[in-house]
């Protein structure tokens, strides 16, 4: 080990890098109104008003809609269900390094009755498929599904196997697909962020029957 050529390893001194060219121009809004707007509640109000106008909806209803959606998108509880390799990365995601708890999602409920999100993490074998479907059916509305990894999306490397279902979207509806084999935890977190966007756009009226 002592014979390793130390000179080969180029050491970059972080302090000497000129960071000014990487800095992004941030537009600062000085007026009080726009500062207020950027803080949570008022933003919600403005957003609700926009939405109400767009959808020709009652503003109060749109506001309720906003609040409920806000609750849903910030408190997504996944169900503890792992199928294969990707489940280990799911565990990684909830551990200290990546910490899904920051998004309020560390409450991995063991029972599908209390969870909102199903991670299909891994290969869905033919034998597992009906059980996964049942698990999905046991979850209360509203519920979301994220298909993680190439196996869950299309069968992945096992696509020509006799015992593997090629894609979980054949049995349950999927909201978001995360490619990778397995995807890195960052990709999982990104999928969570995408899901939050999705929920934000989705009106609560869809499940409450008030949208019509």
């Amino acid at each position: 080990m002592d014979s390793v050529d130390k000179d080969k390893v180029t050491v970059i001194d972080a302090t000497k890098i000129d960071t000014s060219k990487y800095k992004r121009e941030v537009k600062r809004e000085d007026d009080a109104a726009s500062q207020l707007k950027s803080t949570g509640l008022l933003n919600t109000l403005v957003y609700a008003k926009d939405r109400a106008e767009k959808r020709d909806q009652n503003v109060i209803l749109a506001l309720v809609d906003q609040v409920v959606n806000w609750g849903r998108l910030c408190s997504i509880w996944p169900v503890t269900s792992g199928l294969a390799c990707c489940a280990i990365e799911m565990m990684s995601m909830s551990m200290g390094h990546y910490d899904i708890a920051r998004f309020g999602s560390e409450v991995f409920r063991a029972t599908p009755r209390q969870s909102d999100l199903l991670f299909v993490a891994g290969t869905v074998s033919k034998r597992m498929a009906p059980r996964l479907k049942r698990l999905y059916e046991q979850m209360p509305e509203p519920k979301w599904v994220i298909a993680v990894g190439s196996c869950a999306i299309s069968g992945g490397p096992f696509v020509d196997s006799y015992a593997v279902l090629t894609g979980v979207d054949k049995i349950i509806p999927v909201d978001i697909y995360v490619p990778g084999c397995p995807p890195r935890p960052e990709a999982w977190l990104y999928s969570m962020i995408q899901l939050r966007k999705l929920i934000k756009e989705e009106g609560v009226g869809i499940t409450w029957g008030l949208d019509k």
Binding site: G40, V67, V68, W70, G71, R72, C74, S75, M95, G96, D99, A101, R102, F103, G104, E106, R109, A110, T111, R113, Q114, D116, P140, E141, P142, V204, T207
Partner: protein, 360 residues
């Protein structure tokens, strides 16, 4: 001004604001002179509800944060400052969640079980003195007896909830929970006897007033240890969290509950946690006693001390959760019946001797 309880405080505030007289004359004219009293009681109830709800929310947030930091994580971060709004958000979400009921569930019992679990957890707070000068809902003369009796109702809610779900996990979880609750109720009551022997009063206010010089932790060290273990068991915290025992019975007795009913069980659990910590503070840590700060009304300071002590106890249980594993069901009952109860009886015996000998 010295008040007896919160009722008098509310009455005094309303009186000095001139509202009470107005209400009194109005209701007298209508012929329902009891109405102002009822309104005050309603205000009192609302205060209790809001207080407990706020406390429960704070506790769920605290639990997640303490656990996260013990595990080298951050916990909820993005909902407002360090995720402070996370409990509110969870509530909103659970409220808007579909409420499922199993097909073969016993519908009426299934529906009523969360309330039966939740209401006693709330009622326990009635005789607990939160602070000096009347920060107490009602100073019952046999307060400690009342507390023990009421908190013993919660397991019934758990049992019927588990039974009505028509699920084996739920039933087994409920049976475990009830077995554990009942076995730890006994040593708990027995240790309280030690305190009652010393103070000679069942009133919690008297017990707190007795501790102005020395806390019962130092007078009853053995009793305190037994009470602590029993309290952790009653709170259903790890290492005694057989109510939920996630790795065995999925989610214990509330496996089938979803949405708001689950939220009620959840609330009950944390209200119970809070109430038992409050009882422990009252019995062993001198209740609201603590150095009073000048310029601040003593009622505020004393409530502050009380809350601080309760939070320290709760922090301890959370710390436990981050550190130790769960005890098996037969071991938990073994400890309860074969160790705790004899020790508690021994404690009563020693205390009785000391009291009779005039030492205490």
């Amino acid at each position: 001004m010295i008040f007896e309880n919160i009722y008098e405080i509310i009455a005094f505030i309303l009186n000095s604001a001139g509202i009470l007289q107005y209400m009194q004359s109005y209701s007298d004219a209508l012929g329902i002179s009891i109405a102002p009293k009822l309104i005050i009681i309603l205000i009192e109830t609302a205060l209790l509800l809001v207080g407990v709800a706020l406390m429960v929310m704070a506790l769920t947030w605290m639990e997640r944060k303490v656990l996260a930091h013990a595990q080298a994580r951050l916990g909820p971060m993005i909902t407002w400052y360090h995720g402070l709004l996370q409990p509110v958000i969870d509530g909103v979400k659970l409220l808007s969640k579909e409420d499922l009921m199993p097909k073969r569930a016993d519908r009426w019992i299934y529906f009523i079980a969360p309330m039966i679990a939740f209401v006693p957890a709330l009622l326990v707070f009635i005789p607990i003195p939160f602070g000096r000068d009347g920060a107490i809902i009602s100073d019952l003369p046999m307060g400690i007896l009342y507390v023990m009796a009421v908190s013993a109702i919660s397991p019934i809610g758990i049992l019927i909830g588990g039974w009505a779900s028509d699920n084996k996990y739920s039933l087994l979880g409920a049976l475990r929970a009830v077995a554990q609750d009942i076995s730890y109720e006994i040593p708990m009551v027995l240790t309280v006897i030690g305190i009652v022997l010393i103070t000679g009063s069942l009133s919690l206010q008297d017990i707190v007033l007795f501790q102005d010089k020395i806390w019962f932790v130092f007078l009853q060290p053995l009793g305190f240890i037994i009470f602590l273990v029993a309290a952790v068991a009653e709170m259903a915290r790890i290492p005694f969290d057989l109510h939920e025992s996630e790795s065995e019975f999925v989610a214990g007795f509330f496996t089938e509950y979803s949405g708001m009913k689950f939220a009620f069980f959840f609330l009950a659990e944390y209200a119970h946690l809070f109430s038992i910590a409050a009882i422990m503070t009252t019995l062993y840590f001198g209740g609201w006693h603590g150095p009073m700060i000048p310029m601040i009304p003593p009622i505020i300071t004393s409530i502050g001390w009380f809350t601080l002590k309760v939070l320290v106890i709760i922090f301890f249980t959370m710390w436990l959760r981050a550190t130790v594993p769960r005890v098996r069901v037969d071991q938990i009952l073994d400890i309860g019946w074969k160790v705790m109860i004899p020790l508690a009886l021994f404690n009563v015996f020693i205390t009785g001797l000391l009291v009779a000998g005039g030492v205490l």
